[in-house]
Amino acid sequence: MIKIKDLTVSYKSRTGKVRALDSVNAEIGNGEIFGIVGESGSGKSTMAMTIMGLLPRNSLIEAGSIEVDGKEIIGLKPEEARKIRGKKISLVFQGAMNTLNPLMKIEDQVAEPLLIHREAKREEALRRARETLEIIGLDSYTWKKYPHELSGGMKQRAVIATAIVMNPGTIIADEPSTALDVITQVQIMNILRRLQREMDITVIFISHDFPLVSEMADRIMILYGGKVSEVGSNRKILEEPGHPYTRGLINSVPTMTPGRRLEAIPGEPVNIRDPPEGCRFRPRCTFAGEGCETYSYKPVEAGQGHLVYCVKYGEGKNAGSS
């Protein structure tokens, strides 16, 4: 169980402080696939980096807490953080396949975390590495290969193997398939599904691709401009979306249905260096009106575990679903 409370993270830049995450709350249950959707500037990657303790030097956790199985992980000493990072929670990010060491055989790279964490001796580590490689569908002929001998999809699988070889309870997959081809993407998604189903791993799946997240996640959180705009079960989000942004995302998915017109969301993603007052989505929202400029992000409970961060929710104009 991961509990995120009032998490606020900012970056220092030459032009001042930029708040990338602003009072974000989330509860991620054991064994679920928790999807986080957001476009550039939404804070979705900052969230992953904060949980992993991998924020860059110019960042600052202004407020909030992250509890993993009841234990606070913000402000941990480096050696204690290491016990969580990679061991309890691991990360696979976009383009991670390019971070493989070109001079190391695949099986050695997958075994490396076990050696670094002193979990196993070399022989045992290699055995477990091979076992893990097999689980994610890399046959023995790849074990002794070097990264340049494998395709992008195979390398990304090897990275996933490295992430799960320590048996972490949770894996954060931040745009794990973005640089890959559509067909390879399906294969990577199936691997993540299997990790959750068969190994009971919690998957935090982060992507800009709303339909892809909807295919994967049990629950979905939608971030916009560093704020949560809606969170709920997959079914609720798709069938009874409460936030105009969520509806915009749904209506603009090219579903290849004959005769269906897509509806564009007007405008551009919010510039988090200079966010608007009140609701961040306001300048793009067709429902914007009174109260939006002063909105303090008090959520409305639209159902059990379904929170909508919109002051207009339930107010006639914005009541119906898409």
Partner: protein, 317 residues
Amino acid sequence: MQEVLKIENLKKHYKPRGRVASRSSYIKALDGVNLLVPEGEIHSIVGETGSGKSTLGRIVAGLVEPTEGRVTVNGIDMFNSSRDKVRDLRKKVQIIFQDPYGSLNPRFTVKKIIEEPLKLNHVEFDRERITDILRKVGLTPPEDYMNRYPHELSGGQRQRVSIARSFVVNPSFVVADEPVSMLDASMRVSFLDLIAEIQRERGISMILISHDISIAYYLSRKINVLYLGRIVEYGNADDVVNDAMHPYTKALVQSVPKLGKIEEKEVEIKGNIQTSSSSISGCKFRDRCMFAMEKCATEDPGLKEVKKDHYVACHLY
């Protein structure tokens, strides 16, 4: 209807890097492609990385010379005509690139970026032509944008500039190479609508290059599915998507994410495009195909009209 673009038996072979290569080991990025785009239509080329789709776009835009074959625009041969004719043609064919970060000169203002193709093509123009196109692509008021540099613009605004640059010379043909793949999902539809609107208003013909068949479906009348340098399926967008015949097209359609949770996604395909060789005999897709037969190894399946206006290159049909 008159065709604007006609491509006949187009081939582009690259020599493998750093090797003394025999002819047969050449990488066949394009291996005999035929294409007809009539006036005012958008046709798309869909395929994965390595399918040859960008090579095709670059040849049509005149940026790369083909190894073999003919490309004609408005009846003029792009690579075998007099210099004057070719220069004239270049004005008529424009390209929109994928990357709005890499394709704009960082030292040029927006005004200068848009003036550049006009100057290069010796077109007389006034300030109004620039402000008109900026307004058209949604950079309003134009005066606010004219003197800005690319780094002062957001990704979306940059791509608007690059669309303006392509359309300002009044091209008769435009190659749009993944025009929305670098944009945030919430902006994609509005950009596709913008491109379609300008295209319709001006009666421009276009090829759209995309790895995403759902985007091709949204924007184009016909879809060509390209695999290792060959068109494996061609037809009306609706037929190719909703009545896909080639196993590769089926896999592409299946792999498009749809709304709603699924437990496991079935895609009937093996391996990936990088591990296949473009010089394989017979059908180039056979080593990834679940339905491969003996015949597939020996006989090259040509593109056949299997249903009305719906062509497929596969021995299953």
